[in-house]
Amino acid sequence: MYMAIFILFAIMSIAGAIMVITLKSPVSSAIALIFVLCCIAGLFALMGALFMAALQVIVYAGAIMVLFLFIIMLLNLKDEILGEDEKKVTRVFGSILGIAFLLEIGFFVRRALTVGSESLMYPVPEQFASIEVISTGLFTKFLFAFEITSVLLLVAIIGAIMLSKGEGKTEY
């Protein structure tokens, strides 16, 4: 049962990912990406990491993808322009990178299979990624990393303002 649901979610997310890169219209691609992210949230939930699943949907599918859609609409990318603009070099380079990444995943899956077949089917620990574990870890053991995150967010805020303001000429 567990395996069947896992495979279902895995197939759906891979199919969605293929749609992201094959669909012509950028907005459709973005919708497909939202679908992929929701499927990944499903995979998290399947492992019992409900908190992670919820955050995956709230942050990735809910916030980052709104930004993506806004940018796609802001730039008003037309299907035709995208087709023409594509350089041959990027295609070749992209394909090489993709194949290399695929081989890398294949290598690790193979190694995991040879070391011990159960390592891939390792049972999920009882308290895996539960809210208690995450929050106590985040606010005690990894406190410094958490505080540093705020600096990261601060830099992001300032960067966003700088980029959108440009030379300081535009007044909206």
Partner: protein, 328 residues
């Protein structure tokens, strides 16, 4: 899990989902009658006794309307956009306890579809998805007014979603749990209702809720005077109806969430628990209509300024004050 369990689960979903759909249908009549009453009119009272068959007549009419797709529209996205806005509003009810648990076929039945321990986060996640139906709908129409309406709507929804999420943090600090059932259990008597522990948090939440479901005074996405109909201008027939039903379903589910989080959920003396739940939700739905009949609409710049410069600092202040009081 055996057949009886599955049967009980499906039955529970059918009852709660059916009740929600029924409430969505009759909410339209309720709103029109109450607005008419506020404005000194009569409202629809011809179809059936006191207009009680009006929603059915409306549904039949919309079903037989021609479904027009604009020539320049992205056909697929145009078809799925209304569903994208409708489905999330229906999923919210999954984590809301609607009544006291009872015994059926010798089994304890909790009247909540799924008692997951991250109920509040589930609601926030599903609410975050509601914005896509509107963005995609406005963009896919390939028409100016819907696109403008969609842009405004999405910018408004995401702005107020932040305050909505932050308003809940104060509540979480007090309750220390994400589970809706536990939150209801904590508010067992009148004085323990969370509204008394989080008055400012509740105020922020209800303002955010009005903005999140695009109701007056925050209904700029569909400002008919400037934007024709906003994001749903080009939609007709059942697709148009779906946007409308999505708005009503969102209104009902957010009322149910407010009742559960701040007003003790289904608990109350003498009357049976589902009645109490419906009464409390009904009071909020009446408030939604009442506010619509009373307040004018915000201007867009006022709306954005209010969201970012007033609600957001207030939400952070609320968290700070709650933290200080809890430490003392």
């Amino acid at each position: 899990m055996d057949l009886i369990d599955i049967g009980i689960t499906v039955g529970k979903v059918v009852i709660i989902f059916g009740a929600l759909m029924g409430m969505v249908a009759y909410m339209t009549l309720f709103e029109r009658r109450v607005i008419a009453f506020i404005q000194g009119r009569i409202g629809p009272n011809r179809v059936g006794f006191q207009g009680l068959l009006q929603p059915i007549a409306d549904a039949v009419k919309l079903l037989f309307k021609e479904d027009v797709t604009p020539a320049g529209a992205n056909k697929f996205l145009f078809a799925i956009a209304p569903m994208l806005s409708f489905i999330p509003t229906l999923l919210t009810i999954a984590v809301i306890p609607v009544a006291e648990s009872s015994t059926i076929f010798g089994r304890e039945v909790d009247w909540i579809i799924s008692d997951i321990n991250i109920g509040i986060l589930f609601v926030l996640a599903v609410t975050a998805m509601e914005v896509y139906g509107i963005i995609i709908g406005g963009w896919a129409s390939n028409s100016k007014y819907p696109l403008l309406g969609a842009l405004r709507a999405s910018a408004q929804m995401i702005s107020y979603e932040v305050s909505l999420g932050l308003a809940l943090v104060g509540l979480l600090m007090v309750t220390g749990t994400f589970s809706m059932t536990e939150i209801v259990a904590q508010q067992s008597s009148f004085l323990q209702w969370n509204i008394f522990k989080q008055p400012l948090g509740f105020l922020l939440f209800i303002i955010g809720a009005f903005a999140e479901v695009n109701r007056i005074p925050f209904d700029l996405p569909e400002a008919e005077a400037e934007l024709v109909g906003g994001y749903n201008t080009e939609f007709s027939s059942m697709k148009f109806a779906m946007y409308f039903m999505g708005e009503y379903a969102a209104m009902i589910s957010i009322s149910a969430i407010m009742v559960t989080l701040y007003f003790g959920g289904w608990q109350g003396p003498i009357l049976p628990s589902p009645i109490w739940f419906l009464l409390k939700v009904g009071a909020f739905l009446f408030t939604f209509v009442w506010v619509r009949g009373t307040l004018p609409r915000f201007r867009y710049d006022q709306l954005m300024r209010f969201g970012w410069l007033v609600l957001l600092p207030l939400a952070l202040f609320n968290i700070f004050i709650t933290g200080v009081i809890m430490v003392l």
